[in-house]
């Protein structure tokens, strides 16, 4: 049985046990003189939890662990056939067996060992799937029986259900912590492995980035260079261009919408700008690569500038467009939070509206605006699709926005997309870059929070 059919089966069993449990207790209470301790819903829910809770956990664990066991068994099988093969060769063979199993390798290209292993693999898969279905359904039935026994008129089903729900909620909110721990641990673990082959100083301060690993041992320049400075510089340049676009437009439109615009314009313009925020980044990437970049290149050629077709300018401009709604909505909030009394006071002193805004409202909103800009920078640094599609791949250390530069996120994608073995320095480098990215964005977010908390004036 496939994963989804077991899941649906389990949902069906759960629904059945719920209705069965509540119907059963209603019948019992009709025939009894005692008053029900809990309403029938709780008895139903109690039976539902007994029936589905343990099997669901087993299903999750089994699905997570069984590929590990199957792969280990498959490796043992192949090792028995080929005692002299090293781990790398076995890994390639395992990948081949799986590819043959799903049919992406033609039968003509595989030898007998692979074929035998594939038969073994297929039998393992079906055995495990069968075992999983049996185990889950058996457990569900046992749970049903276990939960059915205590059902009685005076049984405190509500207390039991509420206790379990409390734990489930606690676990659900702890997932957020597990995710963070998972991110940090997985990034740090792989980064440590990367730094065992490439020194930290070379990575952080090296000026040369070319992660190509030699296919042959003696290939020239095959060692790969992992100096990430050109990537950081490229990221900064594109982010800077993006901010040059987004900050003036976003901030001025927020000011205009909250201070000048009549309600009708506000009702149209505000959602209009929010639409920009809802557009997926891959769309911006397409726009940057196929509309903006050619336009800039042709326009540049007309006035005698040579622009690379993957110029930092195109990626930066479009990224700026993506950031506009971010800055404008956050600034709009902080500008609206400035109390009206400040504006009235300035007006009473004879200031014009723009003087009020520039000398009273904006300074009062400044901490919020600064934090909005910091968050926008963090967003721009982590943005991937626009730069993958519109910025370059080659690492150029340049300050010329008309040339092509590459960024941290582009390199992460380039290093990991496509099939390659997982343990090479090339793929591990992606995790080191990811770690840098994670800490930079985290730092910017914390800084943004700090700025707001430290400098915000409490007017109320």
């Amino acid at each position: 049985m496939s994963l989804s059919s077991i899941f649906i089966c389990l949902i069906g069993l759960g629904a059945f046990s719920f209705f069965f449990g509540s119907a059963r207790i209603r019948k019992l209470s009709v025939n009894s003189d005692l008053k029900l301790h809990s309403r029938s819903v709780y008895h139903g829910s109690f039976l539902l939890i007994c029936t589905t809770f343990v099997p669901l956990i087993l299903l999750i664990i089994w699905t997570g662990v069984s590929p590990l066991i199957i792969d280990a068994l498959l490796e043992a099988f192949l090792r028995a056939r080929l005692p002299e093969a090293d781990t790398g060769t076995l890994g390639v063979m395992i990948a081949k067996v799986k590819a043959f199993h799903v049919g992406s390798i033609n039968a003509a290209f595989v030898d007998d060992t692979i074929r035998a292993a594939e038969t073994y693999y297929a039998s393992l898969l079906s055995q495990f799937a069968f075992g999983r279905a049996i185990a889950v359904i058996m457990l569900a039935l046992v749970g049903f029986g276990f939960g059915f026994r205590p059902l009685a008129v005076r049984f405190a089903a509500r207390h039991a259900v509420e206790r379990v729900s409390g734990y489930v909620m606690l676990v659900a909110s702890a997932i957020a912590i597990f995710t963070t721990i998972g991110i940090v641990l997985s990034l740090i673990f792989e980064t440590m492995r990367f730094f065992s082959s490439v020194p930290v100083s070379e990575f952080l301060f090296g000026l040369h980035w070319s992660p190509q690993i030699a296919i042959r041992e003696d290939q020239v320049g095959g060692a790969g260079a992992f100096g990430a400075i050109p990537l950081f510089a490229g990221t900064l340049m594109i982010t800077f261009i993006a901010m040059l676009v987004a900050v003036p437009i976003g901030l001025m439109s927020a000011v205009y919408l909250s201070e000048y615009a009549e309600p009708r314009l506000r009702a149209i313009a505000k959602p209009g700008i929010e639409v920009l925020a809802g557009i997926p980044t891959v769309v911006y990437g397409f726009f940057a690569a196929l509309v903006v970049a050619p336009m800039l290149r042709d326009g540049g050629a007309d006035i005698g500038l040579t622009l690379s077709s993957e110029s930092a300018l195109a990626a930066g401009l479009v990224m700026g467009i993506m950031i506009i709604p971010f800055i404008s909505s956050l600034s709009d909030d902080v500008i609206n939070a400035v109390p009206q009394t400040l504006r009235d006071g300035a007006a009473a002193l004879g200031a014009t509206q723009s003087e009020t805004i520039r000398q009273v409202v904006l300074p009062a909103a400044l901490p919020g605006i600064v934090s909005a800009i910091l968050l926008a920078i963090s967003r721009a640094i982590g943005e991937t699709m626009i730069v993958v599609m519109a910025a370059g791949v080659a690492a150029n250390l340049t300050a010329n926005p008309f040339e092509s530069v590459t960024t941290v996120t582009v390199q992460i994608v380039m290093l990991l997309v496509g099939d390659q073995e997982f343990d090479s320095a090339k793929t591990l480098a992606a995790f080191a870059l990811g770690l840098v990215l994670f800490f930079i964005t985290l730092g910017l977010n914390v800084l943004a929070l700090y700025v707001v908390n430290k400098y915000r004036e409490q007017y109320d």
């Binding site: 957020a176 963070t180 990437g285 509309v291 506009i324 982590g382 991937t384 997309v417 995790f431």
Partner: protein
């Protein structure tokens, strides 16, 4: 009491200076106002230009030119045992040859065969399989032209270019003009865009596989993130004691919402694929990664929805003897539901447009089949758009834009539903 006469010594010079200063200040006011209008106008123009250019360039992909050719379904080409395995290609080519009898050279014939799309063969097969009585007859069938010829007809390939600079040869243009003058060419809606899977041939490539992949992935995301997100929000907002642990969780959730999506992709790659050996390119893994990413984006609006319910409701329920869970399940949750659903829909819409984390876990493979199971290989709509955008063939550019139009209209629909839900059911206390 000040002596008024001394303050009133306005001479004309001072008045003029004051007037000039006022004028300057009013000019600054107008300038500032203009900057604001310019910023809004700019944002509006950008939006219109962005959407306009994509919609405009997508238009060619929604139609395709077909040519009506007389195809002989000759009995000696039909495989009696397995009808689908008959020599359909041979019949289509024979039809082309009979229509252009003067094409005799081998190389010219080869060009002639490329005049029609590869999908033409499928068309003939599907037609005959559906109408077996056609066997042995010669029928006028409407067959799709190849993508380059289609682009010529749509005016996207300039036929006035010198022959060595355009992909279509003079001979092909001659044949095309003949067919057009015989009134055999017609433009039809490109159904393939929605009924086919991916393909290397732009005119056959469709979005069906990607749409199914997106659907399965989002289903996993919804199943995982909605219950977890709502439960976590209930716990943090309604039940949790205000201590260090819950504070830590809160800070964590806010930070997770700001982690770049690509980092979630790295997490998925390291944990789900390399540690747990879950299958690459599978909606299961994609859905889990997106679920982790969406979780904080569901928790935050859900908590806001709970926070907006006035405490009097909880107190009233407690007052008549409800337990804490009953207060939540019977009173607070139903009242907060519109806000929760709106937040979930918007979070899922964001996940639906997300590409970068899915590239990390291999959900951009070239997959022709429609995925049926959450562990089978699949791709999603944004990844399909990314792959098509990388395709150098000219006709794929329109296909990509069409894919974007489909994606955007779906997101528009979903977000519209969320806004409607909020407007319709939201209560202001």
């Amino acid at each position: 009491m000040t002596d008024i006469s001394t303050t009133c010594q306005d001479d004309t010079e001072q008045a003029a200076r004051r007037a000039a200063r006022l004028k300057k200040r009013y000019r600054a006011e107008r300038r500032f106002r203009f900057y604001g209008q310019a910023a809004i106008g700019m944002a509006g123009l950008i939006l219109v230009f962005l959407l306009g250019s994509i919609i405009f360039s997508s238009l060619p992909a929604f139609t395709h030119h077909h040519v009506t050719l007389d195809i002989e379904i000759s009995t000696d080409q039909i495989d009696d045992e397995d009808l689908a395995a008959s020599n359909w290609l041979g019949m289509v080519r024979a039809g082309l040859r009979t229509h252009f009898p003067y094409v005799t050279k081998r190389s010219e014939k080869r060009t002639l065969y490329k005049f029609l799309s590869l999908g033409a063969v499928d068309n003939v097969r599907d037609y005959v399989m559906a109408n077996p009585q056609a066997i042995g007859k010669t029928l006028p069938l409407s067959l799709p032209l190849s993508d380059d010829i289609d682009l010529v007809l749509k005016g996207l390939i300039d036929r006035n270019l010198p022959p060595d600079e355009r992909v279509v040869s003079d001979a092909e243009l001659d044949w095309l003009d003949r067919l057009v003058s015989e009134n055999r060419v017609s433009e039809k809606f490109a159904v393939q865009l929605f009924t086919n899977g991916d393909s290397r041939e732009p005119e056959i490539a469709g979005l069906k596989g990607a749409l199914y992949g997106s659907l399965l992935t989002l289903l996993v995301t919804l199943i995982v993130s909605f219950p977890l997100g709502v439960l976590a929000a209930i716990y943090l907002q309604e039940i949790a004691p205000k201590n260090r642990l819950t504070q830590l969780i809160e800070v964590n959730i806010n930070n997770l919402a700001a982690v770049p999506s690509i980092v979630y992709g790295l997490l998925g790659l390291a944990v789900f694929i390399n540690f747990f050996h879950l299958p690459r390119s599978a909606p299961l893994v994609g859905g889990l990664v997106l679920a982790l990413m969406t979780l904080p984006r569901i928790i935050i609006p859900t908590r806001a929805a709970f926070a907006s319910i006035p405490p009097s409701i909880r107190e009233a329920a407690l007052g008549v003897g409800a337990s804490r869970l009953q207060v939540i399940m019977h009173h607070v949750l139903p009242l907060a539901l519109p806000g929760i659903l709106t937040g979930t829909i918007i979070g899922l819409a964001q996940a639906a447009g997300e590409t970068a984390p899915l590239l990390m876990i291999g959900m951009m493979a070239f997959i022709v089949d429609t995925p049926t199971e959450i562990t089978s290989k699949a791709t999603v709509l944004p990844a399909q758009i990314y792959m098509w955008a990388n395709n150098p063939e000219r006709a794929f550019q329109a296909r990509t834009s069409a894919g974007i139009v489909v994606l955007l209209s779906m997101l528009l629909l979903v977000n519209g539903a969320a806004i409607y839900l909020r407007k319709r059911f939201e209560k202001r206390w």
